[in-house]
Amino acid sequence: MSLRIVVTVKYVPDATGDRGFADDLTLDRDDVDGLLSELDEYAVEQALQISENYEGDADDVEITVLTVGPEDAKDALRKALSMGADKAIHVEDDDLHGTDAIGTSLVLAKAIEKAGYDLVVSGMASTDGTAGIVPALVAERLGVPQVTLLSEVAVADGKVSGRRDGDTASEQLEASLPAVVSVTDQSGEARYPSFKGIMAAKKKPVEAWDLSDLDIEAEEVGLEGAWTKVASADERPARTAGTIVKDEGEGGKQLAEFLAGQKFI
């Protein structure tokens, strides 16, 4: 039996750069480089491992990576393809600028349905919005089980199972396919693309879809269609320089004095 996996990957501003907001209070994409969200590398990795361990053989598994984002988001798809995914879908449309999480989940769900799927694999959260809600929203829209925040994942006999480590307990989960999975950075290091993988990625197909391909009206997405509105964004004032002392035998004592002065002891 063949298995169709769709991995959702987000193109995000590099967290080590100076991230900020544009005049319309959306993400400033001009002043900082973008890349494949590092947490989505774990999603690609788990899809590849599911494929490698699949009952028939890896040839029975097709991995499609899907992104919703501006033109440069192709870079994120290329990275995922060079890791070993088979093909890519890029949903790109000027009307998508400023879409919120609810809108993003609409576009993803429609694209996943159009692509055809047995399993959706997502990251635990993006590294920019960091909400960690898109996988649950996509599952709600598709009407299939969510098996999210897994630190271990396996697919066998038409079922997906995995471990979810929560605040108070660690749970073992199971659901029938089709399903939406999200994986954490505890699921296992993501592989580096090999030279061969990078060369092969150049030949892999990248399909481009816009809103009309997905029967979505412009009003349903974008800044206008967003159900949330950002009213202001202010850079946090730099912290006033703190006191820094060099330990010359008295460092611990000096620190204790500081803490006592602040009434912590």
Binding site: A136, R141, Q146, S170, S176, G252, Q254, L255
Partner: protein, 320 residues
């Protein structure tokens, strides 16, 4: 006044602190109506009433423990339909955010996650978020539907306020999706006796500089002298020196204590994302150039194995 639904996070009837903080914030925008689900739901009523809940809607069913997330969404939706609230507030845990998101979609509303403050505004509640590893502060509103907002722990002080807390049983009919994801087994986390990391007023963390699992006893001793929780950087967790449940940062816990003490931690952006909003920040690091020193109120350049034990001794002496 308008009613505000507050989703209750509790363990067998013991209400967790973030919910009590949420009740304080809820009172700024209306009358809190709490929704408590699962084993011990009704036992939450007294604590909730002491913190301003005018009503407590409860429902117990095996589904809440046996299946993931969706049964709770079904119940919260039932509460929403019973009450017609002005807003829905949910604690910002991983599960809380998923519940809130699915509810928001079902009721045709926008969602704001990880708010750190909440005020009443002309067009509904205004939520403050701290984004991009706490380098920006944004204020947002919800422009469609009933605001659904998740709030981070430590975003408000808990303020007692007596209210009726009348307990009412909620009627819930589970959706077809409710039984989709089965919880086949559950292992409870062992309690260390230390305060919960996200709720603690003081957090003492160790990083790669701690250099070994056994050496974490140095960090734990300082934590215990201060009555603090213990945190760890991802480098320390990945090395197997401390459990992942204690990781502070982007992919670990986000903490916002009164005092954060980082030892042997360099201060990478992903670590800062989880602790930068701490009120007072202290670092001990032998490298004077470590980026963590850009954040500190007080820093000691030195070997943590000298500084931390000396500090611990001094704290113990002062506390008598």
């Amino acid at each position: 006044m308008a009613e505000v639904l507050v989703f209750v996070d509790h363990v067998d009837g013991a209400v967790r602190k973030p919910t009590l903080e949420l009740l304080t914030l809820a009172r700024r925008i209306g009358d809190p109506v709490a929704v408590a689900l699962g084993n011990g739901a009704a036992d939450t009523a007294a604590a909730l009433a002491e913190h301003g809940a005018v009503k407590v809607l409860t429902h117990e069913a095996a589904e809440y423990a046996d299946y993931l997330v969706v049964p709770k969404v079904d119940a919260l939706q039932a509460a929403y339909e019973t009450v017609s609230p002005a807003a829905v507030l949910v604690p910002s845990s991983a599960e809380g955010k998923e519940i809130a998101a699915r509810l928001a979609l079902r009721i045709g509303s926008g969602i704001i996650t990880d708010a750190v403050d909440l005020e009443a505004g002309d067009g509904g509640p205004v939520a403050t978020q701290s984004v991009f590893a706490a380098s920006y502060t944004t204020k947002s509103t919800i422009s469609k539907g009933t605001p659904v907002i998740t709030v981070k722990p430590n975003s408000a002080a808990v303020e007692p306020a007596a209210a009726a807390g009348a307990v009412e049983a909620l009627t819930v009919s589970f959706s077809e999706q409710a039984t989709g994801t089965k919880v086949t087994s559950r292992t409870a986390r062992e309690s260390t006796g230390r305060p919960d990391l996200t709720e603690a007023a003081i957090v003492v963390s160790g990083g790669r500089g701690v250099n070994g699992a056994e050496n974490f006893s140095v960090i734990e001793a300082l934590a215990d002298s201060l009555g603090a929780a213990v945190g760890a950087s991802r480098a320390a967790v990945d090395a197997g020196w401390y459990p992942h449940s204690n990781q502070v940062g982007q992919t670990g816990k986000s903490v916002s204590p009164q005092l954060y003490i980082a030892s042997g931690i360099s201060g990478a952006i992903q670590h800062r994302a989880g602790m930068q909003t701490s009120k007072t920040i202290i670092a001990i690091n032998k490298d004077a150039e470590a980026p963590i020193f850009d954040l500190v109120d007080y820093g000691v350049v030195g070997d943590l194995f000298d500084v931390v034990p000396a500090l611990t001794e001094d704290v113990k002496t002062r506390k008598g």
